[in-house]
Every structure is written in structure tokens, then in C-alpha cells.
């Protein structure tokens, strides 16, 4: 579709951009102490754009800006996820103590940039666009990770992040170049067209390209072996940003992986496709499965050892990436549905967990397990809510997490006995994960004892936590609307149009 016509489907992103510009100017007017007000502006912008998102028709499926972007429900779904999480993040960054005595204006501006980048990520169908989007997200997240300049951990983490990010995007870029060399085009559909009838000699090049690109994507979703930055950055970055990184870019990354691999490396190029592109001659399912297994197992095992809750959550997020990867090899509609559903559930429970960390940090100034000791008695409400999140992360009914896992395992099992081993490893992993998640609960309730007077966190935080906890429970009991939404979002366009 032509650039001008495309605009009509591009409003959400445009609104973000406008907000961006407005916030930049507005930010000049505020003093350091008042610069948090910038947040409200960006919030307003986000809300508007997500409203627009919500009214956007999901029946339309097309490409925008001369085949730069895809406009389809799939993208829409992830855009919504991104928007929601961002709203939460902005709200929580307004209520954390970490940003005391720092100017937060740029913080919100950069978050907006990130949002834009991710929205492009989930819909880009041109290698150039892919690269640009990823870079946009990366660069702004580098800065956000290092936002607390005066805190050593923060700056260090951002340094690691930037170098690691640049490196892996370099790898990806090289991979892309190979792909370009093989096919002479940057449009993923055309690439697939070429690949479908390419000679067998090209296999090796395709393999390399695939692997290099996987490095780039894997780094975004922090899959083993491209996860090494995760714990440090998660621990070092300001908690709201950590929470954000653990959800939004991950979602975008998954969207990208799904779109890219399903388009480029499968036979029909649609999400409905059932087998990987034979030309690549890769045991894709096995590779992906193994990646998934390694990722979740390593994440879980290492998480057991952590003393810092934030860091533990970092590893747990790796593990969850692993769970979601389980559904990739199946190449089935169920698999992708499961991932999308899980993403939604994961968004709530993970954000929630991090928010509780923020609450704890606001109260005790620390974020280790020790700081959680007896917390359930000091702040019963928070304690209970945190337990809910933990159970959900373990995947116990009746919580959203269970439903997510249920769909994932269902997808794996559906693929037939060939993949039962994967499911078994998956469930055993969730048993392992019980150990460290329950450690939090244990610290909060079983250790320490009854307090006389109990307190609540700030109103805003309380509201946020409840807004996350309630759906975490409700979706565990009745999730039909969500799953329907997901299923409807799963229409995907082939290059037919």
C-alpha cells in the first residue's frame, strides 16, 4: 500500500511519535523536580494511541508503506500487549523511589521511542525495517538501563547491555546480509519465494544466516546461549525498566521470531503452515526444542541459587522464555496461540512480581530474599498478591499462569508422542521452579511472625498491584474471551495481497 494511504492504519504509531515530540518540548518547561509530569503527557499519548489501537479493525489485513510493515491482527495483538505493559510501567515509574532526585523527563521520552520501536518490530516484514526496529528498541533500552547514572550497577549494566546488544545485532546483521546475498531482496516474502526453489548447495549458507539471525532475536528474548546479559542488566537497571524489559521487548521479540521464521523458513509462509522449509534441510523442530529445553532448564536451575529477588526473576524470565519456545517447533496454530496467550498471562504475573519488588525496595531499601522476610505479615495484602503472582509463575491453578502453561503443554502434546519428552521436561522444570518461587512465599509468610500494625504501599502501587492480581486470578478461572481473542488474532497474511 502506498505511503499516504498507509497513514490511516498507522495512527497509533503516529500518535506515539507526536506525543514523543510534544513530551520533548514539554520536558523543557519542567524543572528537575517537576519533570515527572512529563510522564502524564506520555501516558496520555499512550492511552490515546491504545484507544486507537482498540478501535482499529482486526478484519483488515494488508501491508503498509510499500511492504515495509504488515498490518494484521497478529501485530495488533502484540501492539496491545506492548501498550498495556507500557502504561503499567509509566505508572509504576511514577511511584517508585528509585527515581528520587533524578530528572525523569527523558525517561518517559525514551520509553515512547521504545514503544514505537517495538510496535514496528511486531509488524515489520522487510529486513531493513526489522533491523531498524530492533536497533530503535535496543538503543533506547540501553539508555534506560543506565538511567541511574549515579548508581554504579545501573551504569555498568547499561555498558554491558550496549556492547552485548551491539554485538549481537552485528551478528544478526551479518546473517541478514547473507540472506540478502542468497536472494537479492530484503522483503521476507520474496525471500521465501526464492528460498523455496533454491539449490541444495545454498543450504549451508541458509543455516548460517538462520543461526546468526537467531542470535539477534535470541538476544531480544534472552534465550540461551544469548541470555548472558539478562541477569546483570535486570539486576542493574532500575526496577521499572527491568520489569519492562522482561515483558515488552520479549513479546516483540517473540512476535518477530514467529513472523520471521514462519514466513521465511516454512513451506507456505503462513502461520497455518505445518512444516519447515525443506530446502533449509535443518531439523528445525529439534533445534528449537533443544534451545527451549536448555533455556528453561538453565534458567530454572540457576534461579534456584540467587539471593537477589530481582536477579532470581531475571533467570525466571529466561526460564519462561524457554517455556514459550517450547511451542515454536510445533509450527502449529495452537503453538502460536499458546505463546500469545502465555505472553498475556506472563505480562500480568511478571510485571506484578517486579512491582512487588519495587514495593519491598521502597519499604526496606533492599531486594534480596532477606528483605522479604516476614513481609507478608508487614503488608498482608501485598504478601497475598505476591503469593498469587508466584503461584501463577509456577503455573498452579487457578491462576493465569496455569492456563498459559496448560495451553503450551497442550500444544506440545498435540504434536504427538514425538514431543512428549519435551512436555515432560517442561513440567519437571515447572516443578523445579516451585522451589525458588515458593522461597519468596516462605520468606514472606513462614519466616518472621505476626505484626501488630500492618501497612499498605502507596495508593497508586496498590491499585496497580490489584489491577494485575485480579486478572491473574480471574483469567485462571475464566479465560474464554482471551483465548477467543487470541485465536481471532491469528489470521496471518500470505503474500497473496
Amino acid at each position: 500500500m502506498d505511503n499516504l494511504q498507509s497513514i490511516q492504519y498507522f495512527w497509533p504509531e503516529l500518535i506515539i511519535v507526536f506525543t514523543l515530540i510534544i513530551t520533548i518540548f514539554v520536558d523543557f518547561l519542567y524543572s528537575d523536580s517537576a519533570s515527572y509530569r512529563t510522564g502524564y503527557w506520555s501516558l496520555a499519548g499512550l492511552v490515546i494511541s491504545s484507544l486507537v489501537l482498540s478501535i482499529q479493525g482486526i478484519d483488515v489485513v494488508t501491508t503498509l508503506f510499500r511492504d515495509m510493515l504488515a498490518y494484521d491482527p497478529f501485530a495488533l495483538f502484540f501492539k496491545v500487549i506492548i501498550a498495556i505493559s507500557t502504561i503499567f510501567i509509566i505508572l509504576v515509574s511514577l511511584s517508585t523511589n528509585e527515581y528520587k532526585n533524578t530528572r525523569v523527563g527523558e525517561h518517559f521520552i525514551l520509553i515512547l521511542v521504545m514503544v514505537l520501536g517495538m510496535m514496528l518490530m511486531v509488524s515489520s516484514i522487510d529486513l531493513i525495517m526489522v533491523y531498524l526496529a530492533i536497533e530503535t528498541v535496543s538503543i533506547s533500552s540501553f539508555i534506560l538501563a543506565g538511567y541511574l547514572k549515579s548508581e554504579r550497577r545501573s551504569s555498568e549494566s547499561s555498558l554491558k547491555y550496549v556492547i552485548y546488544g551491539a554485538f549481537s545485532s552485528g551478528l544478526m546483521l551479518f546473517g541478514l546480509s547473507i540472506l540478502f546475498g542468497l536472494t537479492g531482496t530484503t522483503k521476507i516474502f520474496e525471500i521465501r519465494e526464492v528460498l523455496i526453489n533454491i539449490g541444495g548447495d545454498a543450504q549451508f549458507a541458509i543455516i548460517l544466516a538462520g543461526v546468526f539471525i537467531l542470535a539477534g532475536f535470541g538476544y531480544k528474548i534472552s534465550a540461551v546461549p544469548f541470555h548472558f546479559w539478562t541477569p546483570d542488566v535486570y539486576e542493574g537497571a532500575p526496577t521499572p525498566i527491568t520489569a519492562y524489559l522482561s515483558v515488552a521487548p520479549k513479546a516483540a521479540g517473540f512476535a518477530l521470531i514467529i513472523r520471521f521464521f514462519h514466513t521465511v523458513f516454512t513451506d507456505t509462509g503462513a502461520l497455518t503452515s505445518t512444516s519447515w522449509l525443506s530446502q533449509t534441510a535443518l531439523p528445525w523442530p529439534e533445534i528449537m526444542a533443544i534451545l527451549a529445553v536448555i533455556t528453561m532448564t538453565l534458567g530454572n536451575l540457576v534461579a534456584i541459587q540467587q539471593d537477589n529477588v530481582k536477579r532470581m526473576l531475571a533467570y525466571s524470565s529466561i526460564a519462561h522464555a524457554g517455556y514459550m519456545l517450547m511451542a515454536i517447533p510445533m509450527l502449529s496454530g495452537e503453538g502460536i496461540q499458546a505463546i500469545m496467550l502465555y505472553m498475556l498471562m506472563y505480562l500480568m504475573m511478571n510485571l506484578g512480581a517486579f512491582f512487588v519488588v519495587i514495593v519491598v525496595k521502597n519499604k526496606t531499601g533492599g531486594e534480596t530474599f532477606e528483605d522479604f522476610k516476614g513481609f507478608g505479615w508487614k503488608m498482608p495484602v501485598v504478601g497475598v498478591i505476591m503469593s498469587i503472582f508466584m503461584f501463577s509463575l509456577i503455573g498452579l491453578p487457578p491462576t493465569a499462569g496455569f492456563i498459559g502453561k496448560f495451553y503450551l503443554f497442550a500444544a506440545v502434546i498435540k504434536a504427538g508422542p514425538g514431543f512428549y519428552w519435551l512436555a515432560v521436561i517442561g513440567v519437571i522444570n515447572s516443578v523445579i521452579s516451585l522451589y525458588y518461587y515458593m522461597r519468596v512465599v516462605r520468606m514472606m509468610f513462614l519466616e518472621g511472625s505476626k505484626q501488630e500494625q500492618t501497612t499498605l504501599p502507596g495508593t497508586l502501587l496498590t491499585v496497580l498491584l490489584i489491577c494485575l492480581a485480579v486478572p491473574t486470578l480471574l483469567l485462571g478461572i475464566y479465560w474464554a474471551p482471551v483465548s477467543d481473542w487470541v485465536r481471532n488474532s491469528l489470521m496471518f497474511f500470505t503474500q497473496g495481497l
Binding site: 515495509m68 542468497l182 537479492g184 548447495d201
Partner: protein
């Protein structure tokens, strides 16, 4: 004749690139990076990419490299430049690098690349300009936003807080 020049440039590029990663002195490393970039530029020219060659000169050498040098200057007193800047995991690093190289070479020579003969154009600037304003409008704009973000971020980071 041109072939010889080509090979000279290739050699020049590779050697200086090698210096980049090997010289014990950051300044030298930076300078050899400069040479490498020049070499690459030359190769661009060989590849009929005049516009890119220009951009390479302007942005890379004129921008990035200067940035790097500034960085070095800002973060080291002149006296302390000599300190060695190598770390110790060369062994494994070298090995894996070599491995990757071999794999790559193997790939390069056994892959049927997508090729199509074509005559040398008069210049790419115009076409690229048109493309940027038509097909690649969105990336162009996004890039601008990105640069803006980078600008703000960099400014924010290097702003003195106290």
C-alpha cells in the same frame, strides 16, 4: 592495473583491521581503524557504490572515528595511554574466531549466490535519493526518530547531574 590496486586495498584493509584488534595502544588502534575504514571505502568504490563511499567517509571517518578518539581522550590522561589494553582470553577467542572464519569461507565458496550481471551506473545518488523518499520513506523517518532518541539519550547521560 585496477586489479593490483584492488588487491593492494584489500591487503591494506585486512592488515589495518588486524592492527585494530591487536595494537597495544588505543590511539594506534583507532588510527588503524581509520585506515580500515578507508580501505572499505575504496572497496565500495570498486563496487560502484559512490554514494555509500561518500557517506562512509563523512559519517564514519568524520563522525564515528572522531567520537571514538574523543572518547579515548576523555577517558585517559595522555600519560596513561600506553597501558596495555588486552585481556587474556585470547586463546579461546582466537580459536573460536578461527573456527567461524573457516566456516564462513567454506560457505562463501560453495554457495550459489544470487547474481545478475549489470552495467556500471552513472551514479547511485539519484536513485538512492528517490528510493529513500518513496520505498524507504518509513525507515528513513524511523531512523530520524532513532537518531533523535540517541541524541537525547547521549545528552542525558553525559549531562553532569551534580
Amino acid at each position: 592495473m585496477t586489479t593490483i590496486i584492488f588487491w593492494i586495498f584489500v591487503l591494506f584493509t585486512v592488515v589495518s583491521a588486524f592492527k585494530v584488534v591487536h595494537s597495544h595502544n588505543l590511539i594506534y588502534a583507532a588510527l588503524s581503524l581509520l585506515l580500515t575504514l578507508f580501505g572499505v571505502t575504496a572497496l565500495y568504490v570498486f563496487l560502484w557504490a559512490d554514494f555509500l563511499a561518500g557517506v562512509q567517509i563523512v559519517v564514519y571517518i568524520g563522525g564515528i572515528l572522531i567520537l571514538l578518539l574523543f572518547g579515548i581522550m576523555l577517558t585517559h590522561k595522555i600519560t596513561s595511554i600506553q597501558i596495555t589494553q588486552l585481556n587474556m582470553q585470547r586463546g579461546v577467542a582466537g580459536a573460536s574466531a578461527l573456527g567461524i572464519l573457516i566456516i564462513l569461507l567454506w560457505m562463501i565458496f560453495r554457495t550459489p549466490w544470487f547474481t545478475m550481471t549489470s552495467s556500471e551506473p552513472l551514479g547511485t545518488v539519484r536513485e538512492i535519493g528517490i528510493l529513500l523518499m518513496s520505498d524507504y520513506l518509513l525507515p528513513f523517518e524511523v531512523a530520524s526518530v532513532l537518531l533523535l532518541a540517541a541524541l537525547i539519550g547521549a545528552a542525558m547521560l553525559s549531562r553532569k547531574t551534580e
